[in-house]
């Protein structure tokens, strides 16, 4: 029973490492193939995930288009 927090802690740290590694790999691939569409096994990032330009209404419209 006392092992439970350690198991949860380890699981969360492992999950974080997986997420961070996948994100870095996706970014790296995206930067190498900036103008190509590739099918990725784990898709954690998109073309516009970097930053939402503050007050840019055009960006907001483009994101709406992505949803529909």
């Amino acid at each position: 029973m006392t092992m439970t927090p350690i198991i949860i802690w380890t699981a969360i740290v492992a999950l974080l490492l997986v997420i961070i590694t996948a994100d870095i790999i996706v970014r790296h691939r995206h930067s190498r193939h900036e103008h190509s569409r590739r099918i990725r096994p784990i898709d954690l990032a998109t073309e516009r995930e970097e930053f939402f330009i503050t007050g840019d209404r055009l960006a907001a419209q483009e994101d709406d288009d992505d949803d529909f």
């Binding site: 439970t4 927090p5 350690i6 949860i8 802690w9 969360i12 740290v13 974080l16 997420i19 961070i20 994100d23 954690l44 990032a45 998109t46 995930e49 970097e50 930053f51 939402f52 330009i53 503050t54 007050g55 840019d56 209404r57 907001a60 994101d63």
Partner: protein
């Protein structure tokens, strides 16, 4: 000379520009008093008078000429953007530049577009991540944490802030993001007590989520209260309280999972 041929162009164009300007300024975290002063300053520099009604999610602006014969009104929705002091400062500077240098409306509008396009990405994600983590570690020290607690808080903040950037970049709801980040940071900072690393594990746990405290909405709420913008003050206060509750929920969940603190 009629109002149609002044340097400001038509009152309609000035009104539309000011409505957009004020919506962006409000969206990036400006207080109501700053918003009012900036808009009135720009309008006055073109020889017009501006009256502004500030609602939590909309801005209602009327521009009147000096004779009071030509009145144009516009309503603009406030964009859902993050708080940015840099954008706030640059837009205020633009209002002073317009008043001091007598910029034309076209030039003012062009500079506004440039500011909005470039200011948001002034700092890289990595720089923000490192600075926020270092600041939180410094908070830990201020509250009496030892070196190990500071290191643990640094790691916990880096992990939580990374997740925050990732989730907000995907446009996930801010409240859910705060809950998840608080949970992740509190769980990671529990390493101090879990593995008996340092002598101040409680301080490490408590300060690991401080980067999520919505300090600016609380301060803006108080500022609006002082200047009797009660609706905006209440709106900002409720927003801040909701985020604080989300933070608390994430922290409590993390503490419960780690069997630490009050649980």
């Amino acid at each position: 000379m009629t109002s149609e041929t002044t340097s400001a162009g038509t009152p309609r164009r000035l009104c539309l520009f000011l409505a957009h300007y004020s919506a962006v300024l409000l969206g990036c975290g400006a207080t109501c008093i700053r918003l009012t002063k900036n808009v009135e300053r720009i309008a006055a520099s073109f020889g017009y008078r501006a009256e502004i009604t500030i609602m939590p999610r909309h801005v209602h602006l009327s521009v009147t000429d000096s004779q009071g014969t030509d009145v144009v009104t516009a309503i603009e929705s406030v964009p859902q953007t993050g708080i940015s002091f840099a954008l706030n400062t640059e837009l205020s500077r633009l209002s002073w530049a317009t008043a001091d240098s007598g910029l034309s409306l076209e030039e003012c509008s062009r500079q506004f577009d440039d500011i909005v396009r470039t200011t948001g990405s002034r700092h890289s994600r990595t720089t923000e991540l490192l600075l926020a983590s270092a600041a939180n570690a410094a908070f830990c020290r201020l509250f009496g944490g030892d070196a190990i607690a500071m290191a643990v808080v640094l790691a916990a903040t880096m992990a939580g802030y990374y997740i925050k950037q990732l989730m907000l970049g995907r446009h996930i709801d801010l409240r859910l993001t705060v809950i998840v980040c608080a949970f992740v940071s509190s769980v990671i900072s529990a390493a101090d007590s879990l593995f008996s690393l340092g002598t101040t594990p409680a301080i490490a746990l408590g300060t690991s989520v401080l980067y999520l405290v919505p300090g600016i909405p609380f301060l803006n709420s108080f500022s609006d209260l002082l200047y009797r913008h009660y609706i905006c003050a209440f709106s900002r206060f409720v927003d801040a309280v909701v985020l604080t509750c989300c933070l608390s929920a994430g922290l409590c969940a993390g503490m419960a999972a780690m069997n630490s603190g009050m649980f």
